[in-house]
């Protein structure tokens, strides 16, 4: 996978070996009664990684598109359903204060207010 193809979509977090910080939409939550004790009290969310959709005419990023994928991420910032969030993966996921000794592969580390690329704001949080 290239870093930024001239057209088409960039699928963040698509490659299992490469881990990126990526933008995702919180689509739901996970409730697991039986789980490792260290995960008690942690919020588990289902997030859908988003891709950047390119405008075919201008070859510039136009909007965020759904990928249909779902990954489970731990939340440390108080995110909620429907919000656009920043997710980090891999070893970095365990560097937050709250996830130091947790079996976490993906962690929501930010709630996005706005995102801009090449001078175009393609996301702005409501309200």
């Amino acid at each position: 996978m290239g870093i930024l193809p001239m057209s088409g979509t960039v699928r963040h977090g698509q490659d299992a070996r490469a881990t990126f910080m990526f933008l995702a939409r919180v689509t739901g939550n996970v409730v697991a009664s039986q789980k490792d004790r260290s995960l008690n009290g942690q919020k588990l969310f289902v997030v859908e990684p988003l891709s950047v959709k390119y405008d075919e005419a201008t070859k510039k990023p136009a909007s965020l598109a759904n990928t249909g994928r779902a990954i489970v991420a731990l939340d440390v910032v108080g995110a909620g359903e429907g919000q656009l969030v920043l997710v980090t993966q891999g070893s970095s996921a365990r560097m937050t204060e709250q996830t130091k000794n947790l079996p976490a592969d993906a962690v929501i580390v930010g709630i996005v207010d706005s995102a801009e690329y090449a001078g175009k704001t393609f996301y702005r949080a409501q309200g």
Partner: protein, 89 residues
Amino acid sequence: MANAEAIGLIETRGIVAAVEACDAALKAANVTFVEQHKVGSGLVAITLRGDVAAVRAAVDAGAEAAGRVGEVISVHVIPRPHNDVAKMS
């Protein structure tokens, strides 16, 4: 006669911790906020309702979050409360 839905209770010292607990709990699982009780002496208790598993997860997350900003006094989940328990509010 027992109610089909579980109730969860989180009691904190102060409103800030109670609101934080409520926010985290409602976000963590599919539960609804029922009521808050101002017990007195700064104690605030919130009640949540939902599936047993959802309430457990919500109460755990709420207590954890509240503990970070304030003091959690006690936490409890009643899996199948008697209908008359609702009359307490």
